[in-house]
């Protein structure tokens, strides 16, 4: 938080729930336009999808526990890798961050609700339908999507299973949901801030979400365009990606990654925001370099539009293009390095305590940096010819997404859960959850670096014998990491059901921000009268 954002506690409003109709039962959730209810719905949805996507990862790792084919057919294995990726990206990380934004952005900027509450309801309730459609493809004739989460054409058009049409419709729906969510968040942040809260006084989490929402608006429609072109290629005889008709399969990769690279920042920027809230709170120091944090986030977002072809170094780009995308990719390390430096400087000589949110945030800084550095290795075009499509890539993006995005979400849940439920979570169990997750994920993903460097390709159900040992370690780690999340579920349910100490208004000594000026649990309606920020 910016040190100039001090809160005048006199303005704290009292709960005003009695003024409003208070529907109960299922209709409360179906018709809700309340940002807190919708935030909870998003988070619950994301949690459910985490276990579905995690179950798929379980199957993948069980099959890869030993060389040879044990449990599932290669065709089904391909569907599992594809669906695992799609669900984790679109069904877990993105909805979880939208849920956090719904809950926290109005509270952090002193707004009574989101700007467009009914659209908010709509953008959530599209999601269960989108994912029901996507998951139902697994039971269709010919199976579900089996072409990887990147769905490269013509594998996803000419050679795809018939269910691909449903997959396309599902992607359209989730894209629609994300875009509506993004419009809502931008409008809320730009139009509904409390008097006195200038843009440069906004909490970092709000800043990162503002930038993320702009990224969403810029690239989700491009993804919608890509799947629409696929639809037309499959059903209407066009040849966007069909070489026989004069189209170009490489064009698909350009369009996909024009969406795909900003997408990876969509998944990580809100996590940057979360740890930028938590580290100052537990280091009991204001965030070091608030302004540089804002500028670094914006720089990362802008750079994300000119680096997409580093995913395509091996398609036969001319040398000039390889060099351009290589250097522009490396450039991203600078603003990212600024952020890591600022987090470390915030902790430096802070009076730190290590409650669960802080543990997850510190692990985020360390492990995300490892993922960032393997990303730098991959950005070197000549080296990428060796790493491309190997487990090294798998290790890289899991290191930025699991201890990056997922740890960011878990840190946020522990940090704000007392505000949501009104009760403290079980701290010893949360610490156990952290340590088991930390060990499990490193056991899972670190050996993947070695597998990749040794040449194991990604997306294969079987492998050569020399990869056996590391794969076994990886699978054991995956089982540990996956099962540990049941503990997380238990902790969250206990806290939500009120098993725990009642949480004070501001449960964290060093936490700052408007969200701590309201009672715990946060009443259904807050900031009906805008607070004053000096």
């Amino acid at each position: 938080m910016n040190e100039t954002t001090s809160i005048s506690t006199k303005e704290v409003d009292t709960p005003t729930t009695e003024h409003h109709a208070h529907p109960t039962g299922i209709s409360r959730w179906l018709y809700t336009t309340n940002h807190k209810d919708i935030g909870s719905l998003y988070l619950i949805f994301s949690f459910v999808m985490l276990f579905i996507g995690g179950g798929m990862a379980f199957m993948i790792r069980a099959e890869l526990f030993q060389p040879g084919l044990q449990f599932i057919e290669p065709e089904f294995f391909n569907q599992m890798t594809t669906m695992h990726g799609l669900i984790m990206v679109f069904g877990v990380v993105m909805p979880a961050f939208v849920g956090l934004a719904n809950w926290m952005v109005p509270l952090m900027i002193g707004a009574p609700d989101m700007a467009l509450p009914r659209m908010n309801n709509w953008s959530f309730w599209i999601m269960p339908f989108a994912f029901s459609i996507l998951l139902s493809t697994l039971f269709m004739e010919g199976g579900g999507p089996n072409f990887g989460w990147t769905f490269y054409a013509p594998l996803s058009t000419t050679y795809a299973p018939p269910s691909t049409t449903f997959f396309i419709f599902g992607v359209h729906l989730m894209g629609l949901s994300s875009i509506m969510g993004a419009i809502n968040i931008i409008t809320t942040i730009l139009n509904m801030r409390a008097p006195g809260m200038t843009l440069m006084k906004m909490p970092m989490f709000v800043w990162t979400w503002l930038i993320t929402a702009f990224l969403l608006i810029a690239v989700m429609p491009v993804l919608a365009g890509a799947v629409t072109m696929m639809l037309m290629d499959i059903h209407f005889g066009t040849s966007f990606f069909n070489a026989a008709g004069g189209g170009d399969p490489v064009l698909f990769q350009h369009i996909f990654w024009f969406f795909g690279h900003p997408e990876v920042y969509i998944m990580i920027l809100p996590a940057f925001g979360v740890v930028s809230q938590i580290i100052p709170a537990f280091a009991r120091k204001p965030l070091f370099g608030y302004k540089s944090m804002v500028y670094a986030t914006a720089s990362i977002a802008i750079l994300s539009f000119i680096v997409w072809a580093h995913h395509m170094f091996t398609v036969g780009l001319p040398a000039v293009a390889e060099l351009f995308f290589m250097y522009s990719t490396m450039l991203i390390a600078i603003p990212t390095g600024v952020k890591v430096f600022n987090w470390v400087s915030t902790m430096f000589r802070g009076s730190m305590t290590f409650e669960a949110p802080m543990l997850f945030s510190v692990a985020f800084v360390v492990l995300f940096t490892i993922g960032g550095l393997s990303g730098l290795m991959l950005s070197i075009a000549p080296a990428d010819f060796q790493y491309h499509d190997t487990y090294f890539v798998v290790a890289h993006f899991h290191y930025v997404l699991v201890p990056g995005a997922i740890f960011g979400i878990m840190a946020a849940v522990y940090y704000w859960m007392p505000k949501w439920s009104g009760f403290m979570y079980n701290e010893p169990l949360a610490k156990l959850h952290f340590w088991l997750s930390f060990i499990g994920l490193n056991l899972t993903f670190f050996p993947m670096h070695f597998l990749g460097l040794a040449g194991m390709p990604r997306r294969i159900p079987d492998y050569a014998l020399q990869f056996a040992d590391f794969n076994m370690i990886t699978s054991v780690g995956a089982f540990l990491f996956g099962t540990t999340q049941l503990l997380f579920l238990y902790i969250v349910i206990q806290c939500a059901r009120g098993k725990g100490e009642p949480a004070p208004q501001r449960p964290w000594e060093g936490a700052e921000g408007l969200e701590w000026s309201i009672p715990s649990p946060a009443p259904l309606h807050t900031f009906d009268t805008p607070p004053k920020v000096d």
Binding site: T187, A218, V219, P221, V222, A224, G225, S239
Partner: protein, 202 residues
């Protein structure tokens, strides 16, 4: 402080970006055309802006010989043979060279074929002018028929010094399920008068 009609503006931005996704298709082709990096080689070579590619062979008697290689890649779904008349040919700069590819239909049905060209190194593609190419048109083969399909091209004398070998690659796709009108192959199949206005695979 409030920005008027922000949701409307953002919706317009969304629709604009959806359109941009589709605009990437022609933009990509234009970009490849300008830079010559997609190896299609239909553009006129720079420096030969005169009409009709009128053979100005007499202007320069370049002795530099280029080794031209020919590759044939029949794609899945095509039952038959597809091969070049010769796998390598020497070519002088600024002189037209004619050769051929052969396709044989081994099935018992009429088939329609479309060849998609590529030139390697892609840097050379902007110096190659194809006067005649079977890839300009769809090829129809009756059952058992073997067809000789002509290819005439010229390599500009401006070809950079360091290129001594050029590879012409053709991928042959069966497009039997589509009728001529529905193929959407963006190829001007009537123009064969020098191949200058041909812009297949825009």
């Amino acid at each position: 402080m409030a920005i008027n009609n922000l949701p409307a503006k953002l919706t317009i931005a969304t629709i604009g970006m959806f359109g941009f996704g589709f605009a990437l298709v022609p933009l990509y082709d234009v970009f490849c055309d300008i830079t010559g990096i997609n190896g299609k080689g239909f553009e006129r070579a720079p420096g030969t802006s005169n009409q009709s590619g009128a053979i100005e062979a007499s202007i320069s008697e370049t002795q530099r010989a280029i080794n031209v290689q020919f590759i044939a890649s029949p794609q899945s779904g095509f039952s038959g043979n597809f091969y070049p008349a010769s796998t390598t040919l020497p070519a002088s700069l600024n002189r037209s060279v004619s050769t051929a590819y052969f396709a044989r239909n081994a099935s018992d049905k009429m088939i329609h074929l479309q060849a998609i060209p590529s030139i390697s190194p892609s840097e050379a593609s902007s110096y190659v002018t194809k006067m005649e190419c079977f890839c300009f048109n769809q090829q129809s083969l009756s059952p058992g028929q073997t067809r000789e399909m002509g290819l005439t091209f010229k390599i500009s004398e401006d070809l950079p010094e360091h290129i001594s070998t050029i590879t012409f690659s053709y991928s042959l796709y069966p497009i039997e399920s589509m009728s001529n009108e529905e193929t959407h192959v963006r190829i001007d199949s009537t123009d064969q008068t020098g191949g200058l206005s041909n812009e297949p695979s825009t």
